[in-house]
């Protein structure tokens, strides 16, 4: 089982990172740290039970811990039909399937929900991102080769009504 200091170190590391959700299975210990869950809690709630009986569960929540670098500002004022295509992973943003090829989509282009809008490279794999809605691309927030965090808004789409 992990020692108290090890658990404390894990909490601190996750806390200082921009990781939103962290799970660790180590021997009989199961740790889950989720910065999203229990958003109404103002204090950190930490529950730790003995491993032998039940899975040890550690839940750390709260919105004030993230020390993120300033990320792309996304305008919020354009009404309800605006949809954000968010990044499902960390990675490097590419707007085209190959260097030099035409981009998957351009501004003012109509997209279908299952249409690929970009690829994100992580660990040499190129992950395709689908639009997720039918609509028109209003804004592309990243350039080729830029690093994208999990949850970053990649595109703004004016949804079809």
């Amino acid at each position: 089982m992990l020692t108290f200091n090890e658990i404390k170190e894990i909490i601190n590391l996750v806390n200082q990172s921009c990781i939103q959700h962290f799970e660790l299975n180590h021997e009989a210990t199961n740790i889950v740290i989720d910065k999203h869950s229990l958003p109404s809690t103002t204090e950190n709630k930490i529950g730790l039970q003995d491993a032998s009986a039940v899975d040890s569960t550690l839940v750390l929540s709260g919105e004030s811990h993230e020390k993120q670098l300033p990320r792309k500002e996304v305008p919020d004022q354009q009404g309800d039909n605006l949809y954000k295509i968010v990044s499902p992973t960390v990675g490097t943003f590419y707007s085209a399937p190959e260097p030099g090829a035409d981009p998957f989509i351009k501004i003012n282009q109509q997209v279908n929900s299952n249409e690929i809008v970009c690829v994100l490279e992580a660990m040499k794999l190129f992950n395709e991102v689908e639009a997720g809605v039918n609509g028109t691309i209003i804004e592309v927030l990243f350039k080729d080769g830029e690093f994208v965090e999990y949850g970053d808004t990649l595109f703004l789409v004016k949804q079809d009504v």
Partner: protein, 335 residues
């Protein structure tokens, strides 16, 4: 479990990483012309990276898939499709039984590699599934595929089986399903009309005239139609020796550039002879052999010189990339 050949294409043969250990008996290595693409195809379907795959040249075959399978196509883009729908390359693809895989226009490169999860159920001859076409050894009956051939496929196991299960589940009733990720394809230059190949000086480099060695690194060479799996014959500025050189035949290697008396260099490739007596002006860096293999007749090649150390570093970097890729794919496929 099998694959039936409905049309043969130009030249499709089973190849793996080659038949090593028998050159001393005069049995050549054979194997994939672009072994990097072969390895990636196998890795994508969860096979051992040296498993036998189909090497498809310029005009592809039509293949009827007689069981639900996972395949991956890498290397040259010969427009693979099913029922007119394009089959994406550089990723695992699930196909339902009864699908007919066809190939069309060669868009770039000239050799595609098709790996099937489980691999082909054919005997290893001298430790290899590669087809040695001239001798009729190995592969499927020692030859390229013909109409009516039925290629037996092994039941996938281990990772290959897990990948199959995962994609089959995602597919549901669809006849084709792929992952939402792929690997990099752009290591092969998009403009394959003109490629630059990195070489080291060959063992007899100093025996060539200064003009010849300058031309080697400055003038383009054209890949001639006499090029095949054994070697690429080039034409361009003539390469001359300072004086005639009588040599005892000695070992040649993959990517050796030898110069016969006519002065037109030959790059030795997968089906190269085991020994040669022509002077060797250069040696292609191993990381660029696949690029040569994807070059069509009529294309131009420029040579650029690098040191042995640089070639080794390129090789090590690529091997490290492959190892990282294996880990990334396993993570992605939920192991």
């Amino acid at each position: 479990m099998s694959i039936k050949v409905l049309k043969a294409g130009l030249l499709t043969s089973i190849q793996d990483l080659g038949r090593y250990g028998y050159q001393k008996y005069g049995v050549i290595v054979s194997g994939a012309m672009d072994s990097h693409s072969l390895r990636l195809a196998n890795i994508l379907v969860g096979n051992e990276e040296g498993e036998g795959v189909l090497e498809i040249s310029l005009m592809g075959p039509s293949l009827k898939i007689e069981k639900d399978i996972i395949l991956a196509i890498t290397g040259g883009d010969i427009s693979p499709s099913i029922d007119g729908k394009s089959v994406p390359m550089w990723r695992p693809v699930y196909l339902k039984k009864g699908s007919i895989l066809e190939f069309g226009r060669c868009r770039w490169g000239c050799r595609a590699y098709l790996a099937i999860a489980g691999g082909f159920d054919i005997p290893r001859i001298m430790d290899s599934k590669s087809t040695y076409l001239r001798a009729g050894i190995g592969g499927f009956c020692g030859r390229g595929l013909k109409v009516g051939d039925v290629l037996p496929v092994k039941e996938p196991q281990g990772q290959a089986l897990r990948y199959l299960g995962k994609l089959a589940k995602k597919a549901g009733t669809k006849s084709m399903e792929t992952t939402a990720w792929h690997i990099r394809s752009s290591y092969i230059p998009q403009n394959s009309q003109c490629v630059t190949i990195r070489v080291m000086k060959g063992s007899q480099f100093k025996h060539f005239t200064e003009e010849s060695t300058q031309n080697l690194f400055n003038a383009p060479f054209q890949v001639t139609v006499q090029s095949d799996r054994m070697g690429y014959r080039l034409s361009g500025s003539t390469i001359k020796l300072m004086q005639p050189l009588e040599m005892v035949s000695e070992a040649v290697a993959l990517g050796t550039v030898q110069v016969p008396p006519d002065g037109n260099p030959i790059i030795l490739l997968a089906d190269r002879q085991s020994v040669g007596g022509y002077p060797k002006i250069a040696q292609v860096a191993i990381v660029d052999v696949g690029t040569v293999a994807q070059t069509k007749a009529g294309s131009k090649i420029y040579f650029t010189e690098i040191s042995i150390e640089e070639a080794e570093e390129l090789y090590c970097t690529r091997e490290q990339d492959i190892q990282n890729l294996i880990i990334a794919i396993r993570l992605k496929m939920g192991e």
